[in-house]
Amino acid sequence: MGNKINFWFISSLLISALVAIPIITVLGSFFEPISDYYNILKKTFLIDYLTNSFFLLIGVLFITFVIGVGCAYLVSFYIFPAVNFFKWALILSFAVPAYIYAYSLTAFFENYGTVFAILNNLFGEGNYNAYIPKFDGLLGAIIAISFSLFGYVYVLTRASFHYQSQNLVELGKNLGFSKKRSFFNIILPSARPAIVAGLSLVAMETLSDFGSVSYFGVSTLTTGIYSAWISFDDLTLANRLSSYLLIFIIGLFILENFSRKKAQFHTSSKGGHRTKTLIKLNGYKSFLAFIFCFTIFLISFLFPVTQMLYWTIIFPQHLENLDVFKLFLNTINLVIISSFFLIILAFISNYGNRVSKSKLLQILNTISISGYAIPGIILAVAFITFISWMDSNIINYFEMGSIKSFFIGSTLGLVLVYFIRFYSLANNGIKSGYAKINYSIDEGAYLLGYSKFKTFKNIHVPYLKNSIFLVSILLTIEIIKELPITLILRPFNFETFATKAYLFASQDLLEAAAAPSLILIIIASFFILITSRYILKE
């Protein structure tokens, strides 16, 4: 219906513009004169930053794809021991941030670490350190990030498999396909949008990760950006490096869109959708499926939780000194306010795109969701820079007093930057929900006399309640775990579990960081559990 200027168009434009501001700031660094540091960097570590970031990304994408899709496939199509437990238990990996996983990995395998202690207790004293594998450097970072992020691929792929029509499975049988061929030719391609959405989230998170790569001493673009800002105090250089990341991400999006061409992945709307008949596995196949899922659950969740619990128990004084209630209130407050605005605005933006069908909006939307790829540190700094610029160039001009205190070191500023950072998460979740609503459903509503707003309120919102819950989980987990933005923009004396854990860890008090880390994991797990029941019921 053309590119009409209406409420939806203007709303979408404003949201996209808000999210696009830091991206434009970052890309604007290309037009600023480069510093000497950049020339030095180009000759020295830039290639390392790029290659490490690339290999980190490839490694994480590969592992998360195999684990995420593998688990989703097994629990969606087969019956084997504890399958219903694994369905929700595997989501618990979301509760463990990569940097906490990195601490656990190191503590477990390091010289005289937990493995050493176990071996000592079991077999008596010995020189076991030489035989204990070390998961550090790039490998350690890949493992830590993969096991903390594979949940994105798992959750989205499982949802897609869950709604996949039984007809598809039977079609494969009808065509005489083997199980393997059915999987690769029918099941996997039809879940492709979900898998790609999951992998896109993983890719963006990986490229933004700072905690675990810096802990393992891997020089990536994010550590480079951090060094440029902290060590060289060169914001232009930091922005220039950020723009490489951004180009990387935009490239990924274009590649993804290009490969998908014009394929639409609506669910079947002609009826005939039946509940899938699950296949009962017997014998060694059943055992293998169980072992696969259990191993993933063990490595991704039980292992870091046990490690944190172990430290908390043997160092109880750190827990006693923690103001748990205040940290909890602070964290939840941020979660509720941010999630509320993110979901409402992601809805408006997506619906605007849907009714406007404007190419311009689609492009803005694609750019705006790249905010997720920009490391939190850069977003926070770009935000501070933007507010300062507004303050001195616009607000000052009208002699209206300073606005800095409203935005910097305030909950408002924190929520705004969270918005920019997590907009893609909310947007992608709502967008994939919308992909399931055939356009003829909207058209049917219009022809029943429903206005666009009424269609949105009475048809889309109730239908997308699953997506809202899913997005809420993801946002809650992300905000609880979020570190750099909170660290930089939080009000004075305002702490969350994440900042508290980080502050202890940065002072080399890993055992003190265990208590807030453990509570963070428990709270995140709680949110995952209450919502996973809902997801499973649906």
Partner: protein
């Protein structure tokens, strides 16, 4: 001068730059009339409905309903403000409401109007009782189509658009639903445009039919005329209900064919004596007569319950079809000779 209920004036319907139906002009004179549009798949029939409904933009000509311009180059009334209902081919039931609630949406639109059907009445008429508590994903496509139809009918629109409304409905149910549908539309005086590829359905339901071929509305007439007086060879080929054979006009009401000899009847169009024409022969034009000396070879025989359709080969290798009542005393096998009654007389002679 009496105003038409719906007027489509010189509108080009375009689904894509390649797929257009050009300069369509069509009128529905009276409220309650039913028009069926026939045409091959992919020609753009659905686009016509979508444009009338306001779901596609119209860049040329005007569409006027009850004296109100709905769309033109300057005016584009929003779909929700047209009071036009449409039942889509791939049903558009709201997936998160059960069938009853879905149908209720139609009734809600009609709540301020006095006339119209009751929800339970339509549920009964379209045999939806057993599925009314089910969700769209739990019912078959035929059931979904009936539910979608019920929703549209209940909204009591000024104009109802039905896109292949019975395409997924079981054959044994189809005729019953067709009868119900016609009865409801006629009683409620709901003006309707139906898109279908089934010519029998169109001929039964429609007061008028439109044949869309090669990007044009080729013929717009009542079903009898469409069938018996097709206005072009393309329409004959599309309906696939006859054979064109070479013949020469020999008089005011006679022709001569090399295959069948002399044929008499009333020409619907004048041709000068001596003209070479293509004569349309429909299966009911010829009669079987075992005693006749005009014998053709049987190449196929279809049993259709009430009758047989014999396909015969002429001396010039043309295939022509002849209906024979199925109570006919004996059947003719393939390769056997089949007699055609002479003299051949056709009520109305259609030539091209």
């Amino acid at each position: 001068m009496k105003k038409n209920f719906l007027e489509i004036n010189n509108v080009t319907f375009s689904a894509s730059s390649q797929n257009k139906i050009n300069n369509v002009s069509l009128t529905i004179e009276n409220q309650g009339d039913i028009v069926c549009l026939l045409g091959p798949s992919g020609i753009g029939k659905t686009t016509i409905l979508r444009t009338i409904a306001g779901l596609e933009k119209n860049n040329s000509g005007t569409i006027t309903l009850k004296d109100r311009i709905l769309s033109s180059k300057e005016i584009q009334v929003e779909p929700e403000d047209r009071n036009i209902a449409m039942a889509f081919q791939d049903n558009s039931l709201f997936p998160h409401y059960n069938v009853f609630d879905n149908i209720k949406f139609g009734a809600e639109r009609n709540k301020n109007k006095k006339k119209g059907l009751e929800i339970n009445e339509i549920i009964k008429l379209l045999h939806i009782e057993n599925i009314k508590d089910k969700y769209p994903h739990q019912i078959s496509s035929g059931e979904a189509q009936r539910a979608s139809l019920a929703r549209s009918l209940l909204s009591n629109p000024d104009l109802l658009l039905l896109d292949e409304p019975l395409s997924n409905i079981d054959q044994n149910f189809k005729e019953e639903i067709q009868v119900m549908l016609k009865q409801i539309l006629t009683e409620q005086k709901i003006t309707t445009i139906i898109v279908t590829h089934d010519s029998y359905e169109a001929f039964y339901l429609g007061n008028k039919c439109g044949i869309i071929l090669d990007g044009h509305l080729k013929q717009y007439d009542d079903p009898y005329n469409i069938y018996h007086f097709p206005n072009s060879i393309e329409v004959v080929n599309f309906l696939n209900r006859g054979t064109l054979i070479e013949a020469k006009v020999t008089g005011e009401n006679s022709l001569e064919s090399n295959d069948l000899g002399k044929i008499t009847g009333d020409f619907i169009k004048h041709y000068p004596k001596g003209s070479n024409v293509k004569l349309l022969l429909q299966p009911e034009d010829l009669e079987h007569d075992d005693a006749s000396d005009l014998k053709l070879k049987v190449v196929d025989r279809k049993f259709r319950g009430t009758n047989f359709i014999y396909t015969l080969k002429t001396s010039s290798d043309k295939l022509i079809s002849v209906f024979v009542h199925s109570h006919h005393i004996h059947q003719h096998e393939i390769e056997e000779k089949f007699g055609i009654k002479r003299p051949i007389h056709i009520d109305h002679i259609v030539c091209f």
